[in-house]
Amino acid sequence: MLTYTLRRVLLAIPTLLFISLVIFLLLELAPGDPVADMPLTIPPEVREKIRASLGLGEPVHIRYLLWLRAFFVTEPLHWIDGAFGTAFAEGQQRIISFQSRSPVFDIIAQRVPQTLWVVGMAYLVGVLIALPIGIISAYRQYSWFDQLGTLFSMIGFSVPTFFTGVLLIVIFSVQLGWFPSIYDTTLRITDWSSFLRQVNQMVLPVTVLALFNAAQISRFMRSAMLDNLTQDYVRTARAKGLKERTVVLVHVVRNSLIPVVTVIALGIPGIFGGAIITEQVFKVNGLGQLLIIAIQGNDIPMVMTLTFIFAVLIVLFNLIADILYGILDPRIRYD
């Protein structure tokens, strides 16, 4: 298991390097000049100096290596400095956003909590809805509950989140006025009433994302349960006189959860991508909205860093899912 983990981690490094190169070259190919929007009265030599100060004077491969160095060396060192009061990263160049001229990671750090609150909560709620639906659907296969569950997951899977989001806004905030349609990120939780306001504004975005996630996970749970319900060990458990409740909820569910847990882990990076749309619908100023603004503003360091962070998340959770599968299921042997 350890050698397998090590091998996978080692394999992840070239993968990530390659992905970063692909993203870098794609952004490099893109036409678009960060100084193009500046006033035409700026003389050409000053314009060149501005370009150089943005780090655009160097050739492509040098800039790529500088970016890699900044991402993998300077930024972690800077973080260590901030945490322990050391001075490793003193005077080293960090990744600077073209738009705001401040370090990219500082802006990202401001945006992460909003995304994590909304997206993380939505995923949690989605999983909590999905598991019981999957279990009951499988246990009562072809019953009306199962049929309804199938329809529900099909609809949840097919109706895009930007439509469910807008529809919920129309119903619950325009017509009924129960929930706000815009997520207020300046809200600080200080007392009970501000906490209630926070819960209130989270209801709609969380519902949208949770329904979408629950639709997929409940299907996986159902099919995993169906695979296990006909196994011999279930008959044995029943034969030795265990209560039906124990058989299903302890024996079958625990075994069925093995593949589902890995699916849940694999889905985590995907929801950050899906959150781009939901954040746009509810005007949450999280990572997704930051990416959209950066793309529209030609802010290449920001786009590069954010996209690469999404790629790191995907590779990381693929790794976690594979290792988790090996740990949870002793029958799986990778070596």
Partner: protein, 299 residues
């Protein structure tokens, strides 16, 4: 000795159709899909209103006999725009799906059949699966919109860009499924027999392997239409898809969101169309998967 009456011989597709018909969801899905396709294809001949005609005096109208679905903020007829948008959305869906299926099948066949290519091609597939697709799509569309628009004209340029962008980022699942099936087929006796009479690789693939992996390809093609339509709408919804005077369902939804407080019905129709077409494509895919599976068929 009496002859047992044999059933008349039937083609494989008749059997598939029989099985498909028993899947209620798939049949409803097919009816809905064909109805929307008919509306979108035949619509402009029946409902002769120009979707780009601006009539500023008749803006923001509700439903009426002259404007069945009302008009938008510039007085353009919503029904005509919905039909025109559907044409674009569905053709993007179909073309992007065709491209992704072509790529996926090609890579899957090569990786499954030629052992030397298997490793590199599957690593490539894994790399593509690890790419953050939605951010990359956004980057591609925004940055390459201008050069392609100047080269092919604004409409064709965007169309080509979006179709290619969706196509090259969605072939991986098909490639994996096809590769898996080809690997299993390669060990079968009929392949051995074909090889023993000296069939060249090219004909081996086209005559023996490809026809046998058609079922999973058809299923992923159906699901691919749904995926492509959703992706295109999402891009348009983020304001990074088609330009405003070139309506698609996603674009109509995006434009309507600004007026959501006063005219919520404008959001409803395009969203409903996207949802219905995706839902029906997914149901058809589901039914097709059951119908093409010989283990389920005939039970």
């Amino acid at each position: 000795m009496t002859e047992t009456p044999l059933r008349p011989p039937r083609s494989q597709w008749a059997e598939v159709w029989d099985q498909f018909r028993t899947h209620r969801g798939a049949m409803v899905g097919m009816v809905v899909f064909l109805a929307i396709a008919a509306l979108v294809i035949l619509g402009p001949w029946v409902y002769r209103v120009d979707p780009t005609f601006i009539n500023i005096r008749a803006r923001n109208q509700g439903m009426s006999w002259t404007y069945p679905l009302g008009t938008d903020q510039l007085g353009r007829d919503m029904l005509a725009r919905l039909i025109a948008g559907g044409r674009v959305s569905i053709s993007v869906g179909l073309t992007a799906m065709a491209l992704s299926i072509l790529l996926g099948t090609f890579i899957g066949l090569l990786a499954g059949y030629f052992r030397r290519l298997d490793g590199p091609l599957m690593r490539l597939t894994d790399l593509f699966l690890a790419l953050p697709l939605l951010p990359l799509l956004l980057v591609m569309v925004l940055f390459f919109r201008e050069p392609l628009a100047t080269r092919f004209g604004p409409e064709t340029g965007i169309f080509v860009l979006i179709v290619v962008a969706i196509g090259v980022t969605s072939w991986m699942q098909t490639a994996r499924i096809v590769r898996g099936d080809v690997l299993a087929l390669k060990e079968r006796e009929f392949v051995l027999a074909a090889r023993s009479i000296g069939t060249p690789d090219r004909r081996m693939l086209s005559r023996h392997i490809l026809p046998n992996v058609m079922s999973p390809i058809m299923v992923s093609a159906t699901l691919g239409i749904a995926n492509a339509i959703i992706t295109e709408s999402a891009l348009s919804f983020l304001g990074l898809g088609f330009p405003p005077d070139f309506p698609t369902w996603g674009r109509l939804l995006f434009d309507a969101v600004d007026y959501i407080r006063d005219y919520p019905e404008r959001v409803f129709w395009p969203g409903l169309m996207i949802s219905l077409i995706v839902l029906s494509a997914n149901f058809i895919g589901d039914g097709l998967r059951d119908a093409l599976d010989p283990r389920i068929r005939g039970r």
